[in-house]
Each structure stands twice: as C-alpha cells, then as structure tokens.
Amino acid sequence: MVPTDLRYTKDHEWVRVEGDEATIGITQYAADQLGDIVFVELPATGSSLDQFATFGVVESVKAVSDLFAPVGGDVTGANDELTGNPELVNSDPYGAGWMLRVRFADPDQLEELLAPDAYDALIAEG
C-alpha cells in the first residue's frame, strides 16, 4: 500500500499538500523500476510550473525519465541533497528523497490526481 496522505500522477509522481505548500517526488514503484538513480535535474527556485509540465529529469544507470509536476505553482525549493546523494530517491522516496516544493494555489488541481487506492490499483496492473 502506498502512503495514504499523498496524491499521485499516473506517471508515478506524488504530491503532499500542507497549507499553501506542496512537496513533490516520485513513488517507490517508480524508483524501483528505474533502479539505481545517479542523477536528478531540478528547476531553479523562483521558476514557475504548470500542472503536468515537465519539471526535470531523473536518470538511473540504465534509463532516463522525465518528471511531471503533479500540481502547478512557483518553485520555492529543490532538494539540493540529491545533487550529491541521488540514491536517496531509491532509499527514501517519500521522505529524504523529495524533489521539489512549490507554492500551491489551486486546490482544484488535486481533482486531476489519483487517490492512493487508485494509484495502488494502477501499479498492481504493472
């Protein structure tokens, strides 16, 4: 079962909304599928993202994958720890492996995302 306090995209990103702040990362399933992650490219603080826009890239030894923003907003922070320790995405994808924080302004966007049970069903299909 995936964490129940998050919302998900079908592209395997998660978002945690706390007040007007949204924290974004990729799911354990995505991290496992990619394998050992060796590089994460994230946008600069102050840039602005639309919902579902590409916000960066994650690379494992074998594959490169685009990252899609579960919600839009102004970027207030990126996880600098991932520059030196990209493997945090594998070991703690919902915690220390978080990627991005954005100022979250449009609650309607959450309606476009998958609830935990729907995301669980998606990954169960493989």
Binding site: E59, V61, G126
Partner: protein, 369 residues
C-alpha cells in the same frame, strides 16, 4: 511481463526468477538485467565476486584438419598461431570490411576450435562460418543451444572456483582454456571475461547448467559475491574500455578507428574475408577515433548523443553510463582525430544542453595486479 514466444530463455530462467531478477529482452533472449541493483552488483565484481548467466552467447565449434586455416580465412585474426589451450580476441568481417561481430576464439586442440559469438549475432556468425568453411577440411558444429555459459568474475574468483574443480587454476593463465570438471560436471574452463577483473567462463552442457549454478551460487555468496545481471555487465565492460557490438562496433565501423587495428592480422599469408578493405583502411588516415570521455556531473552522455568541439560537431557517443568506480559519468565516443588527444575538452549535448567532457585514455579502469 508479456513474453514474446520468439524470445528464448536460458536454462537458468527459473533461477533468475527465484532470485527476484528483473528481466529484459536482449539479443532475442530474456535475460536478467539486475538482481539487487546495478551499483551493488558492479561493486561485488570489483571487490569480491559475481556470477553471470551468459548462456545466450553463441558457441560455435570448428573441427577438422584444416580448422585453423578455415578460421584464418573466415576471421580477421590468426587462429593457427594460437597454441592449444589459448584464446584470442577476434572479429568476423564482411568482404567490404564491415564488422559482423566481435568474437573470442579458443584453441581446444590441434584441430579443434571454439568460437564464441554475441547472442544477437550468433546466427549471422554461424551462417557466415558455414559458408566460409566450404572448401576446407573443417566442419562447423553450432552448439549455441546445447551449451550453457556461466561466468564467475572478480578478485575472489580463484578462491571460489579452486575447491570445485580439478583444473589447476594457477596454471591457467589469462586467455587460457582447459577441459576438466566443475562440481563434477564436464566443463571447458576459460580464464576470460568482460569485466576488467580476473575471472573465469565455464562452458557446460545446457542440461547441466542449473546443477552447476546451484553449486556456484552459494559458493559465490559465501565469498561475499552476488549474482550479476546485464546492467552491471555493461558498466563493468565500459569502465574496462571494452567494445560492445552494436555500440562501438557495427557493419559501418572499422577496427582501426576503434583502436583495435592490432586484431586484424594483415601479416597473414593467405587471403581472408575483408582483407582488401582492411589494407585500404590501414593505409588511410582515419576519419574518426574511439576515445574515452569523463563527463561533468550533469547527466549521462548516452548512445547516440552528439559531441561538439566548439561549434563543430566532431562525433557521437557510442556508450555512456555512470561509472560506479569513479563516481562520475563516463562515455566512449567516436570523434575527429584532431579532437582525440587525451586532455582535450569537448562538449556532449545532453537534452539540448552542452556539457563539458574531457578526453581520457582507455580503459577508464585497470585492475591492480
């Protein structure tokens, strides 16, 4: 996973499933790409030992009083110059000099050789050899689907294998091969590999493969080793500067620009397939050279990414990865000879961004002997 009926499986497919391997299609075969993780498996081979299922490779036996001469005609190297129990790296070329595959040739006896081909090219090589052997007193026995291959690689390989075999491993030098048994199973035991480490490749009958694996796997694990998939096999060979057919070598490349001109024996007295083309290529100034690149840490320079020298496009990346040993991205690339000098700074285009890379000598990694 949907498994295409045309995709073949090795005799060890059940073992990979039990070990929780992630499987991919490679060269027409369903193969483990990783078990625990590429980085962990890579380190196991560099520091301890790793066990590989390479049963997808093609094993082509060539036998007969003119087996050596036939192979000297069919391949670019000089197999008759091999002593019994020795091996050489070789290639098979088309008449225009295009490389059909790179190979290892083992001399098993006075009139008996084993040619090991890449899985994806095994049929092409088998067909070409059958055709080229005609007219010689030599026969081809394609035992690709009757022969399993298990490799054990890494500094602890000798310690793991020695108690399990009657072959004197200390007497078996690098690029040597001996007949004997391993775990009571008839085997050909070669001191070859594709990792840059010491290690062995063990050829056994297809239907004895699980039995052998079931003895080797616990022995490898007891030495701190791991089963290793194709993912780490690629990072290991790349650090060791070894070419991969389809990346560094193909029908449009020639061995001289790949830095492998020494493999082509133009000194052979008799004709061989591709000779005229290779004589021209050896005499001509090369138009491109295979180099190593250490890339700034802003992503992996992957196969097909363009390489620039200033505004001029100088070449293309053939293979790239994250080097677990060096902790940085590395790549091999063909570039113009003028840009091939070690120390030269070029740029690789990674997703519309130019990322600096330094030309370095190959290999990236050399084990301490």
């Amino acid at each position: 996973m949907n498994v295409d009926a045309t995709i073949q499986q090795t005799p060890l497919a059940d073992r990979h499933a039990q070990l929780g391997a992630r499987l991919i299609e490679f060269g027409g075969w369903l193969m483990p790409v990783q078990y625990r993780g590429i980085l962990e498996e890579h380190r196991a081979v560099r520091e301890r030992a790793g066990l590989f299922d390479l049963s997808h490779m093609g094993e082509l036996f060539v036998e007969g009083p003119e087996a050596g001469e036939a192979l000297a005609y069919a391949l670019v190297s000089d197999p008759p110059a091999l002593k019994e129990g020795r091996a050489q790296y070789s290639m098979i070329a088309a008449s225009d000099g295009g490389i059909l595959d790179d190979l290892i040739v083992y001399r098993l006896g006075e009139a008996r050789f084993l040619v090991v081909a890449n899985a994806s090219n095994a049929l092409v090589v088998s067909d070409a050899l059958a055709e080229r052997l005609a007219g010689f007193k030599a026969v081809l026995d394609d035992r690709s689907l009757a022969t399993a291959l298990i490799a054990i690689q890494g500094p602890r390989s000798v310690d793991v294998l020695a108690p399990l075999t009657n072959v004197d491993l200390r007497a078996l030098r690098y690029y040597g091969i001996a007949e004997g048994h391993v775990a009571g199973i008839d085997a050909l035991l070669a001191r070859t590999g594709y990792t840059g480490e010491d290690g062995f490749e063990v050829f056994v009958d297809w239907d004895r493969a699980t039995e052998l694996w079931d003895v080797l796997m616990p022995a490898v694990e007891a030495s701190g080793g791991l089963p290793v998939g194709l993912g780490a096999r690629d990072t290991l060979r790349l650090e060791a500067g070894m070419p991969l057919y389809g990346n560094e070598l193909d029908t449009s490349t020639n061995p001289f620009e790949a830095g492998l001109g020494r493999v082509v024996k133009l000194t052979k007295t008799d004709d061989f397939v591709g000779r005229a083309a290779f004589e021209r290529a050896a005499a001509a100034a090369p138009t491109r050279t295979l180099v190593g690149l250490v890339v700034e840490r802003r992503g992996i320079a992957r196969h097909g990414y363009p390489v620039f020298a200033g505004e001029r496009r100088t070449g293309v990346v053939t293979s790239g990865t994250h080097s677990p040993t060096m902790g940085s991205p590395i790549a091999m690339a063909y570039v113009a000879p003028a840009d091939a000098e070690p120390g030269t700074i070029v740029e690789v285009e990674i997703r519309d961004q130019r990322v600096p890379a330094r030309v370095v000598p190959l290999p990236f990694y050399k084990r301490q002997v």
